[in-house]
């Protein structure tokens, strides 16, 4: 199998500060890869490389090769809009638009030029079903997304990302702002989505990484310390730092 995301010797700087150092990694399709590590270790910066979300920050410079789906995404002339269609993202805090539930899902379709009303309706329903939210919201699609609970809002954001049919979904601590029940629902959802999508998830929660991911990458001070099969990492970490981190000696 060929990896869907490959990074080679990736360095990332915020002005003078080097946030990522020579990261080499390959992510396989239809797997869940967890990025773990203490705060400030660069895992979020790394995640945000894949849909070029770091572009929005002033003073960012990137070197190295980042290949997504066979394309060098930092080469000149790349279509960022097309890239972001392919690589969806779910953020740390639920961030629905101040629009109706329906319009939140339809947004991605509309900005990508879909105008067929029937198609949008179908897609909204399908995405909500995929995100296991349809049953809860089908009678209030015209209500504001803010009326949903935090967990529902986050699943709405996942549905919103799914609506534009990405092949990769980036999740930046998607459950960190949620209660345990909502977290469990999100994790279930991740497990379901794995069949059709490649998921890269940043998490602070070690148990969560252990539960949902196939592969785990441990970052520390901008370096990729260890990357491998989740079971391996959690049971037989090769590096001392990894072991200290996952056993909770620092974090």
């Amino acid at each position: 199998m060929t990896p869907i995301i490959t990074t080679r010797f990736v360095n990332l700087f915020y002005n003078e500060f080097q946030a990522l150092k020579n990261i080499n990694m390959a992510i396989m399709p239809n797997t869940v890869t967890a990025l773990i590590g203490p705060s400030g270790c660069g895992k979020s910066s790394y995640l945000r490389l894949f849909n070029r979300m770091n572009d929005l920050i002033d003073g960012v410079s990137i070197t190295g090769d980042i290949m997504v789906d066979g394309e060098m995404i930092y080469s000149k002339g790349i279509d960022i809009v097309a890239l972001r269609r392919k690589v969806g993202m779910v953020f740390q805090k639920p961030n629905p638009f101040p629009k109706t539930i329906f319009e939140n899902i339809a947004y991605g379709l509309r900005v990508n030029g879909v105008t067929d009303k029937k198609r949008i309706e179908e897609k909204v329903e399908f995405s909500l079903q995929q995100a296991a939210l349809w049953e809860e919201v089908k009678d209030k699609l015209k209500k504001s997304a803010f009326e949903l609970s935090g967990g529902q809002q986050q699943r709405l954001c996942i549905a919103r990302a799914l609506a534009i049919e990405p092949s990769i979904i980036l999740m930046d601590e998607p459950a960190s702002a949620l209660d345990p029940i909502s977290t469990a629902k999100i994790e279930e959802l991740i497990y379901e989505l794995k069949r059709n999508y490649t998921i890269v998830i940043v998490t602070h929660n070690m148990q969560q990484a252990g539960r949902v991911s196939d592969y785990t990458a441990f970052f520390y001070l901008g370096e990729l310390i260890e990357f491998g099969d989740t079971k391996e990492i959690f049971t037989h970490p090769k590096d001392k730092k990894t072991q200290n981190y996952i056993t909770g000696r620092f974090g």
Partner: protein, 403 residues
């Protein structure tokens, strides 16, 4: 000891703060009460010039006349009493000066001591007469009928079109054209300032680099600090001649000139407030949009602007508020004709400009003076409505954000 001193100091400061707020509040209330008291007195008086009366023949059957009717009589638009519900009798206009056309100097007396008597005589023998003369010339056995003049009513004040407060024999106090002039100019100003201001705000909030923004923002705020008379001067020297030659008008002082100047003056308000509103759009919202494959413009158009919508509305309304109350610049460039405008290329007269231009020549306590105060009340109410609207919108906005 030290403790009591500290306590005492605290109490004193508290007292001073309380006093300051009380004085401020009282001042505001005092000004409003004063304004409305003076304004209200207009509606307790008749619009006839003080010390004068209008009289008709005792046989005249016409009833109360309004200021407008009297004006039409003296302008000879109404020439027969039957038009006013009286007998079929042509109207005969008579002013004090006319008396000498009918009587010799001897008949009027060496010191005009017979004037009251002659006036009475003349009114008595002329059935269609309407006489306008000083009340001191009412004869002791006056046989005519002093015409009762209706008091100015609020409805008349607001709906009559003619503003001619120094007209004789009765002042024409219709402010409709002034109100419309004010709204017209302010509306035009916002039509100019809103697109320009909003575009600038979007540029500063979303597109400009930090450096450009740091130059641009103080520069625009500087616009707010320029004295309005300077704007007026600029308008008079630059904009007015341009408009005149561009549209081939007899005069360049038009509503359009006022709107342009007011639009420029409202820009800082609109830019600053809407930029602040645009910047409140959470980054998470913008990121969400971009992550869904929206480009920068789609994000601005579909997320940032709707999110800042109420803030932008508030900016526009505050801009209107600024325009409604502005006096000097408007006075200088709008031509000040108290007519109801039909296009932007006609001169108009606004309420503040009217007050500023006329207060100096209105005798204190007189009809004209009171009318200007009543105008001030209208202006006050207009701005209060504007401010309340903004208040209402921004409270709704707070609710939205607290979700």
């Amino acid at each position: 000891m030290k403790k009591t001193l500290k306590k005492w100091l605290e109490k004193t400061i508290e007292g001073i703060l309380f006093l300051s707020s009380t004085i401020t509040t009282l001042t505001v209330i005092l000004i409003v009460v004063f304004l409305f008291k003076e304004g209200k007195s207009l509606f307790q008086s008749t619009p006839i010039e003080e010390g004068f009366v209008l009289a008709v023949n005792k046989a005249n059957a016409a009833g109360n006349l309004s200021a407008n009717q009297i004006k039409n009589i003296f302008d000879q638009n109404i020439i027969n009493w039957k038009e006013l519900g009286g007998n079929d009798e042509p109207i005969f206009l008579f002013r004090m000066d006319d008396l000498s056309n009918y009587y010799t100097d001897e008949e009027l007396g060496e010191n005009f001591e017979f004037v009251p008597q002659r006036t009475n005589e003349f009114i008595d023998k002329t059935p269609g007469i309407i006489a306008f003369f000083p009340s001191k010339n009412i004869d002791s056995n006056f046989s005519g009928k002093i015409l009762p003049i209706e008091k100015t009513t609020l409805k008349q004040f607001l709906s009559e079109k003619e503003w001619f407060p120094t007209a004789q024999p009765v002042a024409q106090l219709g402010v409709l054209s002034l109100i419309l002039g004010t709204l017209w100019v302010s509306f035009g100003a916002i039509l100019i300032a809103l697109p320009l201001g909003l575009a600038t705000a979007i540029y500063m909030a979303e597109i400009a680099t930090k450096r450009v923004r740091n130059i641009l923002k103080p520069l625009i705020e500087l616009l707010a600090g320029i004295p309005s008379v300077v704007y007026g001067f600029f308008g008079l020297i630059v904009i007015v001649p341009q408009i005149q030659s561009l549209f081939g008008l007899p005069v360049g002082e038009t509503a359009l000139a006022g709107s342009i100047i007011l639009g420029i003056m409202a820009l800082p308000t609109i830019v600053t407030i809407s930029e602040d509103a645009l910047r409140t759009t959470p980054n998470a919202m913008k990121e969400a949009s971009l992550a869904l494959g929206a480009n920068k413009w789609q994000t601005i158009h579909r997320v940032v602007i709707p999110y800042a919508g109420s803030g932008i509305t508030a900016a526009a309304i505050l801009g209107i508020g600024r325009a409604i109350g502005e006096t000097m610049a408007v006075l200088m460039v709008t031509g000040n004709a108290a007519i109801i405008p039909h296009t932007f290329l006609e001169p108009v007269r606004t309420i503040p400009a009217t007050i500023a231009a006329e207060l100096g020549e209105a005798p204190q306590g007189g009809m004209h003076f009171k009318a200007l105060f009543a105008l001030g009340c209208i202006l006050f109410i207009m701005t209060i409505v504007v401010n309340l609207t903004v208040e209402f919108i921004s409270s709704r906005r707070k609710n939205k954000i607290s979700h």
